[in-house]
């Protein structure tokens, strides 16, 4: 297992290198010139050129890439073209809200989706199954921003239970954190919950038709034990995979959710940076997202061991 983890971690290096090259090339080949944006309306062509030189944008592309890559090896993600602040500081300021939003969303989604999926599979064809699947289809179809506004209208404006926007760190005030995170997490959680619930139902339906489940019932085991210990445990490997893959969906949703609820997270940082072609910030954020995604998938792969004793690394 240890050797497997080390191998996977080592495999992360070429993956990240590829991501870095891809992101760099994509950004620098897309339209938009930050020097012109910075120079403003009164600048002459010479002044724009001077700014471009200051930013290193006149260097050949491979030199720009090597300078950036050399910084990465030193742990330096560069400096924002606009604010002049280190990218690591900008990302550092934004990691906690995004991490906590994602974590809370996952907790809500997983704890609701798996039982719902199990119940739907167990009650297949009944109104319960149809109700669960209706909620799942709705969750999948409803745009995140529509749900977000609806929850703001209900939870914040009408009931006044939750703040409209912003974020309070869990380290500053736990109740404040809960008040700020609930609506965004519910908003983001619905689509994720829909995905997991559907996968849980489908996998459970397959497993419930297996001979060993029939045997378990024949042995007189209570339904709870059959469903959870025998069926669900065997269904968990594909469900875990879905949870891992669904993270990409979640990261996409984070961008919208953070904008709707004005949460100062990595999603909004990404959007702001893209809109003003702040190359170092976009590159830094995408690297962080990619690394997180790769590591979380490794973690998901490792959880397979818990559910399927035949899997050994």
């Amino acid at each position: 297992m240890f050797a497997y983890v080390v191998r996977r971690l080592l495999a992360t290096i070429p993956i990240m290198a590829l991501v870095a090259v891809f992101v760099f090339m994509l950004l620098h080949m897309s339209p938009g010139d930050p020097a012109v944006v910075i120079a403003g309306d009164f600048a002459s062509v010479a002044q724009v050129e001077e700014i471009r030189t200051q930013l290193g944008l006149n260097d050949p592309l491979h030199v720009q890439f090597l300078n950036w890559a050399a910084g990465l090896f030193r742990g330096d993600l560069g400096t924002s073209i606009y604010s002049g602040l280190p990218v690591s500081r900008l990302i550092g300021q934004r990691i906690e809200p995004t991490f906590m939003l994602t974590l809370t969303t996952m907790i809500i989604a997983i704890t609701l989706a798996i039982p719902l999926g199990v119940i739907a599979a167990w009650k297949v064809g009944t109104w319960i199954d149809r109700a669960v699947m209706t909620v799942a289809v709705l969750g999948f179809s409803l745009p995140v921003f529509v749900l977000g506004y609806a929850l703001i209208l209900g939870g914040s404006v009408r009931l006044g239970w939750f703040p409209v926007q912003g974020y309070t760190s869990i380290f500053t005030s736990f109740p404040g954190f809960l008040r700020h995170i609930t609506l965004p997490a519910l908003t983001l959680g619905l689509v994720y919950m829909a995905l997991i619930a559907r996968m849980t139902r489908a996998t459970m339906l397959e497993v419930l038709n297996e001979d060993y489940v029939r045997t378990a019932y024949a042995k007189g085991l209570p339904t709870r034990k059959v469903l959870i210990k025998h069926a669900l445990k065997n269904a968990m490997v594909p469900i875990s995979t879905t949870i891992g893959l669904g993270l990409a969906l979640l990261i996409g949703g984070v961008v919208v959710t953070e904008s709707v609820f004005a949460i100062p997270g990595l999603g909004r940082l990404t959007v702001d940076a893209v809109l003003r072609t702040d190359y170092p910030v976009i590159q830094g954020v995408i690297l962080v997202f990619s690394l997180t995604y790769v590591l979380l998938n490794l973690l998901i792969d490792l959880t397979y061991v818990l559910f399927d004793p035949r899997i050994r690394y």
């Binding site: 339209p31 938009g32 010139d33 012109v36 944006v37 910075i38 403003g40 309306d41 009164f42 002459s44 002044q47 724009v48 700014i51 200051q54 606009y82 604010s83 002049g84 602040l85 300021q93 809370t104 907790i107 809500i108 704890t111 039982p115 719902l116 199990v118 119940i119 167990w122 703001i152 914040s156 404006v157 006044g160 239970w161 939750f162 703040p163 409209v164 926007q165 309070t168 005030s173 109740p175 404040g176 809960l178 008040r179 995170i181 609930t182 997490a185 339904t223 709870r224 469903l227 904008s259 709707v260 609820f261 004005a262 100062p264 909004r268 940082l269 959007v271 702001d272 809109l275 003003r276």
Partner: protein
């Protein structure tokens, strides 16, 4: 079956419990009041503060930030007259070529160092290298030299009528006075530190680009005795802390104001204003009495708009009302018609020549288009879809031009990409453009020098690069003239030429409302949002 349901109960109960835990906890636990000493003014600004150097960028948000942190030698008051601000006074030599400016004593920067003439000299030099009006002033300046700690001279090579207007320029780039050590930074680089002598101090440690900007009252600021009037007069920091909380989504920002999470919303979306007005505890008011001018800019380098008849055709084809309804919707917030290139309500307002714009005349437009020799080629209009003011103008223009038979393509892009693409001089089919929409605050358009969209100096002119020596002669004559009546006569002649030449279409004058809660009072009426004098209960 009952057994099965019973069996599943713990599972579903656990799930529901975990999922609803935050909700329940939130309901049970009230959030403790945030420890905050003193008064705080919480503002939703119109944009995110992306950079902190108001000389390096022309962005209005950085200008507003600049006014909190820095001070100016002179400042414009509500009568549009320039008044001394950091300056105690000034003298002009008999030949009109030497200005001696003396600073008020006792002014200090936020780092504790005194404000000296050397700081003013270095700041003006840097501003003069960057700003359009500053560049014009520097082109007739022989030297700027410190005489002693508190006074310095500006020596001109020829008489110039806009020295004080330049030093008291109210909008970007504002000639803010910085410590010399910062002002010596190259104009193409950002200053490394935010140190000013203004009424508020920038709290760098709390700055989160894209989210929060914090200013604290500068205790050693010495305000003038006169009442505040536009950028002039006494700047009283009546709150301990000003917080800019950037909320990019207009609906969320509106709800935050309604819920009392913020005190003042600088530029609420016009379509959401009725919702805000329904709350009696919120005031909605236009605080900029001069407003904003919409602009449709032509590219003079490429057909068809390298021909003045094509530009005149476009002007005949459009209607200001169409533009204004697309931008503001509610006629309460725009002028029915404004034919003044230098703004209605400004010192150089005139409607001479504006008949071409007043009534939409499609037949005349088609005649002029034919006269221009338009060959049916594609006209590329840049359309920044993420900025409603610009997007609306692009759509209205496209429709009007199609109606007179032009072959129009709307090139959809985001604002940042548009600001890059408008600098491209290549033909439209090679990545260039024919038309782009934008807007300017009225304070930037009040005279022929600050209104850079009328400059027609060819290669060195603003994007679009119009070339018209007569217009440049008149602009120069205006700048040299020191008598305002004579300046007005020049403007009349200039505007006639402008309506014939059509450097751009002024698409109308509109007014952006601001909204604030009842705990906020003494909001200043001014063309720039100033945050001094405001009190918060």
């Amino acid at each position: 079956m009952t057994g099965i349901v019973k069996g599943l109960r713990p599972l579903s109960g656990l799930a529901a419990g975990l999922a609803l835990a935050p909700v329940v906890a939130a309901g049970l636990m009230s959030e403790p009041a945030q420890a905050q000493d003193g008064s705080v003014l919480r503002i939703v600004p119109h944009a995110d503060l992306r950079n902190i150097d108001p000389i390096w960028t022309t962005a209005y948000i950085t200008r507003n930030h600049g006014y909190l942190v820095w001070d100016t030698l002179f400042a414009l008051d509500e009568n549009l007259e320039v008044q001394p601000q950091m300056a105690e006074g000034y003298e002009v030599s008999d030949d009109g070529l030497t200005y001696t400016i003396t600073l008020r004593s006792g002014l200090t920067f936020h780092d504790g160092s005194p404000v000296t003439a050397a700081d003013a000299v270095a700041s003006l030099r840097r501003w003069g290298a960057r700003d359009g009006m500053g560049q014009k002033l520097m082109s007739v300046t022989d030297s700027i030299e410190a005489v002693d700690d508190l006074s310095f001279t500006i020596t001109l090579s020829e008489p110039y009528g806009l020295v004080l207007d330049s030093l008291g320029k109210i909008s970007s780039n504002v000639p803010f006075i910085m410590p010399a050590r910062l002002a010596e930074t190259s104009p193409s680089e950002q200053i490394p530190e935010v140190i000013g002598s203004g009424p508020f101090r920038f709290v760098e440690a709390e700055w989160q680009p894209g989210n929060l900007v914090v200013y604290e009252r500068f205790e050693d600021y010495v305000p003038r005795d006169e009442p505040a009037s536009y950028a002039a007069g006494g700047k009283l920091a009546n709150v301990d802390r000003v917080e800019w909380r950037y909320i990019p989504d207009a609906a969320t920002a509106t709800q935050a104001l309604l819920a009392g999470e913020v005190d003042l919303y600088e530029q609420p979306a016009v379509d959401l204003i009725p919702m805000i007005q329904a709350d009696p505890s919120i005031t909605v008011q236009t605080v900029d009495p001069l407003g904003t001018q919409g602009v449709i800019r032509f590219n003079f380098l490429h057909p068809p708009f390298d021909n003045k008849y094509a530009r005149q055709a476009a002007m005949h084809a459009v209607s200001q009302a169409d533009y204004m309804y697309s931008i503001m919707g509610n006629p309460e917030y725009f002028e029915e018609f404004c034919g003044a290139y230098f703004m209605c309500g400004g010192p150089f307002e005139t409607d001479v020549g504006s008949e071409i714009l007043r009534g939409q005349d499609l037949d005349r437009a088609r005649e002029l288009l034919e006269q221009s020799g338009y060959d049916g080629r594609e006209v590329v209009i840049l359309d920044p879809t993420d900025v409603p003011v610009a997007h609306g103008q692009a759509l209205v223009t496209a429709q009007a031009l199609r109606e007179i038979g032009m072959n129009v393509r709307l090139a959809a892009l985001d604002w940042a990409t548009m600001t890059s693409r408008r600098a491209v001089r290549d033909a439209p089919e090679d990545g260039g453009w024919n038309i782009f929409p934008t807007w300017w605050l009225a304070v930037d358009q009040l005279n022929p020098i600050t209104n850079i969209s009328v400059a027609a100096s060819g290669d060195t002119a603003w994007f679009g690069w119009p070339d018209n020596p007569r217009i440049e002669e008149l602009r120069d004559a205006f700048a040299r003239e020191t008598d305002q009546d004579a300046q007005r006569a020049i403007v009349v002649e200039l505007q006639e030429e402008l309506y014939d030449f059509v450097p751009y279409i002024p698409t109308g004058q509109y007014y952006q409302p601001t909204a604030w809660r009842s705990n906020v009072s003494n909001v200043l009426v001014a063309p720039v949002p100033f945050f001094w004098n405001i009190t918060v209960d």
